[in-house]
């Protein structure tokens, strides 16, 4: 183990230790400066990012991912291609050794994830993306934690978007089904009124019917004008709704194009979509 302090030496005694919900190591030091970058074209772009977790080896190699205003961009690729890693790099959760991240014409490469939230980025992680012991409503309130103004109308919008959440507002989020939990997770991220929403495999582990419903909801969110960057396992469905799509292989951009182009690309079909 690289960090000797994280070695519990096999201790699993929960009567003295409580590993549940412990955070992971994240770059938490002070944010650097935000500089203007006039040359960017896309609303959010991770440009030629190279980097990996902690002091470990590079996972991304000159990877570029961008999303335009009002569009849905998806990242697809085989297992271990670095899809989630690319997303985390854009969000500042790993060390980007070269390359930069631009949001709305500003260079935010030096910002911590928390400061990126303040800047208007909403992020829904793949796992543990809700507060299981808190009610649905409290989850949404925590999503709006950085807001000091009245967020009741945002909450009403979220309830309009996900009516099932309104029904279950006073229920603990951990008691909900997989699809409902994902709705809570997306709703929580929407509470900050983000300028861009990033979803890491929102349909992981839900049944096909629920998956279709979730995709519909995501399209609805996109229609409200929020650009969406999302990582997806279900490449075919994701490419169908994507305005822009990136196929990553081993941390590099392999194919880039509109969703339809990639669906039609024989090489993409052969390698990722099963013919």
């Amino acid at each position: 183990m690289s960090n000797p302090y994280q070695d519990g030496r096999g201790n699993k005694d929960r009567s003295i230790t409580n590993p549940a919900g412990q955070g992971s190591e994240m770059p938490r030091s002070k944010s650097g400066k935000v500089t203007a970058a006039g040359d960017s074209t896309a609303f959010l772009i991770g440009e030629a990012m190279t980097g990996g977790y902690g002091k470990g080896p590079d996972i991304l190699h000159a990877c570029t991912i961008a999303v335009e205003r009002g569009e849905i961009a998806v990242i697809v690729g085989p297992n271990g291609a670095g899809k989630s890693t690319a997303m985390k790099a854009v969000f500042g959760m790993l060390n980007v050794r070269s390359g930069r991240v631009l949001l709305d014409g500003e260079d935010i490469t030096a910002l911590t994830p928390q400061d990126r939230v303040v800047k208007g980025m909403g992020f829904v992680p793949q796992t543990s993306n809700i507060f299981t012991s808190m009610t649905v409503e409290e989850n949404l309130e925590m999503g709006a934690f950085i807001r000091r103004d009245d967020f009741r109308d945002t909450m009403a919008q979220v309830y309009d978007l996900f009516p099932i959440l309104k029904e279950k507002r006073n229920q603990a989020a951990g008691e909900l089904s997989g699809g409902q939990r994902q709705q809570v997770a997306v709703g929580r991220a929407l509470m900050t009124k983000p300028k861009v929403l990033m979803l890491d495999e929102p349909t992981a582990g839900v049944s096909p019917i629920v998956m279709d419903e979730l995709f519909d909801r995501i399209i609805e969110v996109a229609r409200t004008g929020i650009p969406i960057l999302m990582v997806e396992q279900n490449a075919r469905q994701a490419l169908e709704i994507a305005d822009k799509a990136y196929v990553l292989v081993q941390g590099r951009n392999a194919h880039t194009g509109t969703g339809k182009e990639l669906l039609a690309d024989p090489e993409v079909r052969r390698s990722f979509l099963g013919g």
Binding site: Q6, N11, S15, F145
Partner: protein, 336 residues
């Protein structure tokens, strides 16, 4: 057969002392369970934190008495309590800054923090003995009784007396207020909710813009208040001795685990379960039983299950039984 006298004896020697002791344990267990839930380790220094807070409060009490200030019929220590809490706050925040923060930023495994807290315990142990010494100190003043045994006998005409000490009433009342405040804080306020969110899922709390340093700071402050209050109430009810407070660690941990670690409601229930078990198992039941049985069946022995010297064995036994049969505790806490 004399149910009323039997009940009065029972109330005098079991129910009233058990309630007071339970409230003290509950306050202590609340502090332990908060640290366990939010900072994710069992704080072995909790007993000595209580001792430190009480020691400072005693010094404050003495200063107030020297100035001629008393709290009328109530113990002067209650006036000095805020002072004790404030100094204990500083001690805990200082300890966190000097010791725990280093391990937290390294994301150390919780078991390492447990051992670290043990080191802190020894240091605090020493500090308390330096400040106030090792002797028994009685610092309760003001009116001693709310109801005296003789007054009760004269008023009711019963053979048995019921004495309720001021400190016992104060203990229960203060504990209730503290618990109500804590629950209101955790469930209704923004900061309280952010603490629960941090306890639930640290990474997501961070992504929601919750400042972890602030959560940790508020947690230590609340723990300082709870620990000092618990320590002072225990000291008023019995007496203060540094070593006794160190020993309190076991029933307090037992209470927190029995109730369900990380669950504040459980900590309170656990406190009373442990307190009443200790009191009932070590109580000599002869007088209660002799009132209930016909005269010729009156028992010869004391009917005491265990000598009071063994009261810690009761906490241990309950702890083991709960861990064997209901590892999540009576209330749904973290699985142990």
């Amino acid at each position: 057969m004399d149910f009323i006298n039997a009940f009065v004896v029972l109330a005098n020697f079991v129910i009233v002392p058990g309630l007071a002791y339970g409230a003290q344990l509950a306050l202590g267990a609340l502090g332990v369970t908060l640290i366990y839930g939010i900072l994710r380790f069992s704080n072995f220094a909790h007993g000595d934190t209580m001792a430190f807070g009480t020691a400072i409060t005693i010094i404050g009490t003495n200063a107030l008495l020297a100035l001629g200030i008393t709290f009328g019929p109530l113990p002067t220590a209650l006036l000095a309590l805020p002072f004790g809490i404030a100094i204990t706050c500083l001690l805990l925040l200082g300890t966190d800054w000097a010791v725990y923060k280093f391990y937290r930023t390294k994301k150390a495994a919780p078991v390492i923090l447990v051992i670290v807290s043990m080191g802190v315990m020894f240091v605090m142990n020493g500090i308390v003995r330096f400040i106030i010494g090792v002797n028994d100190i009685n610092f309760a003043d003001g009116e001693r009784f709310v109801v005296t045994a003789r007054g009760f006998r004269e008023a009711t005409g019963l053979a048995e007396g019921l004495a309720i000490r001021t400190t016992q009433v104060i203990t229960v009342v203060v504990a209730l207020i503290a618990m109500a405040l804590l629950f209101w804080f955790l469930n209704k306020t923004r900061t309280g909710k952010s603490m629960r969110a941090f306890s639930d899922n640290e990474d997501l709390a961070l992504l929601s813009g919750i400042n972890p340093d602030r959560v940790v700071m508020v947690t230590w402050m609340i723990v300082a208040a709870l620990a000092t209050t618990a320590g002072v109430l225990y000291g008023l009810d019995k007496s203060f001795k540094a070593f006794t407070y160190f020993q309190l660690l076991l029933p307090i941990f037992a209470a927190a685990i029995v109730g369900g670690l990380g669950n504040p409601l459980g900590a309170i229930a656990g406190g009373f379960v442990i307190a009443f078990s200790e009191v009932t198992v070590t109580y000599a039941w002869r007088r209660v039983v002799s009132y209930l049985l016909p005269e010729d069946m009156a028992p010869d022995g004391l009917l005491q299950l265990m000598s009071t010297d063994y009261k810690f064995a009761v906490s241990f036994a309950i702890l083991i039984i709960v861990l064997l049969f209901k590892p999540t505790g009576l209330f749904k806490g973290q699985s142990v």
